[in-house]
Amino acid sequence: MSRQASRASDPRKVNGELFTLTYGALVAQLLRDFEDDEEVNKQLEKMGYNIGVRLIEDFLARSNSGRCNDFRETADVISKMAFKMYLGITPVVSNWSAAGDEFSLLIENNPLIDFVELPDGHNALNYSNLLCGVLKGALEMVQMEVDVKFVQDQLKGDSVTELRLKFVKRLEDAVPVGED
């Protein structure tokens, strides 16, 4: 019947929107609770970190990818597999530093910012800071300490959203106290 058909909305589309809408509601709530943009950024990163440390396990189970041999491989896996799998987008890896320890992820269609406009007076807010936390947390679980920062943000008028990832150091598993 045509009435039934017109009512059924595309479930995948609604699911993606559910995440976007929930994220927006969360950021709005955080701004109400904390009022300070920097504090909200910190909280978003912390939440992202907690998500990332769990998400990496799901990712490794699904993707069956082995250990990355160098940071370049890591970058490719992040952009071509991880982002594709979880957010349905493929950021572009670029702006490699000379030493090969820093790169940028350029995102053109960030799903988190659909329907979002930053009001005036919130220029310090990194709306999608959850992503930074997720990347940091996930990479820490695979023994990489990485610094993730926003360089450009489409919400602030830039043409593209740019995340800068910098490799800090390799993490060793700590030996429990009392054991050699």
Binding site: R3, S6, R7, A8, S9, P11, V14, N15, G16, E17, L18, F19, L21, T22, Y23, G24, A25, L26, A28, Q29, D33, Q43, K46, M47, N50, I51, R54, L55, D58, R62, M85, Y86, L87, G88, F115
Partner: protein, 179 residues
């Protein structure tokens, strides 16, 4: 479970954890209300996405059917397992594997913690129903992950005051009036 579903579930459980982490012990009973109000906000936007381009619902049964199939499928990735009614305006929807409770172990052990994971979903459902009709909504965890949602259809409300109750929240009509 699809990858993007996992992301949303981790995100949802982190929101719950975050709210409890950042409130003092005295204010913890407000957390359920906050979660519900997050759900209200999300639901308000979802209502528009869902009912764009479609005709009005014929009656309360029509609304229930939509909720059981399309809505539950889109948001909770499955259909309602059981729908019961007394044909006098009370509907009980049963979900045997509620999406946000599947990671909690089976049994009665964590029943106290379970309502936190329902609050946001309740908020979404309430706003949906608020927009379409006057319904009173109650959600109850029978045993993780089995959830019963009870909807009582109140029809046209003469006083124009919307009253929504949930078993786990005191935030009542104040929140409803925000929208």
């Amino acid at each position: 479970m699809a990858a993007d579903e996992v992301l949303f579930e981790l995100f949802h459980s982190e929101i719950v954890a975050f709210l409890y982490r950042t409130t003092d012990k005295e204010d913890q009973d407000q957390c359920i209300a906050k979660l519900e109000s997050l759900g209200f906000r999300v639901g308000q936007s979802l209502v528009e996405r869902f009912t764009k381009d479609c005709s009005r619902f014929k009656d309360d049964l029509d609304i229930m059917k939509f909720i059981c199939k399309d809505f539950w499928n889109s948001v909770f990735k499955k259909q309602i397992d059981n729908l019961r009614t007394n044909h006098q305006g009370v509907y009980v929807l049963q979900d045997n594997r509620f999406r946000f409770l599947t990671q909690i172990s089976n049994g009665k052990q964590f029943m106290d913690a379970a309502p936190k994971y329902l609050a946001m979903a309740c908020g979404i459902i309430k706003v949906l129903l608020l927009n379409w009709c006057k319904f009173v909504v109650k959600a109850e965890v029978v045993q993780c992950p089995l959830v019963n949602s009870k909807f009582r259809y109140k029809g046209l409300d003469k006083t124009n005051q919307k009253v929504l109750r949930t078993k786990h929240c005191d935030y009542l009509s104040v929140n409803a009036l925000l929208f």
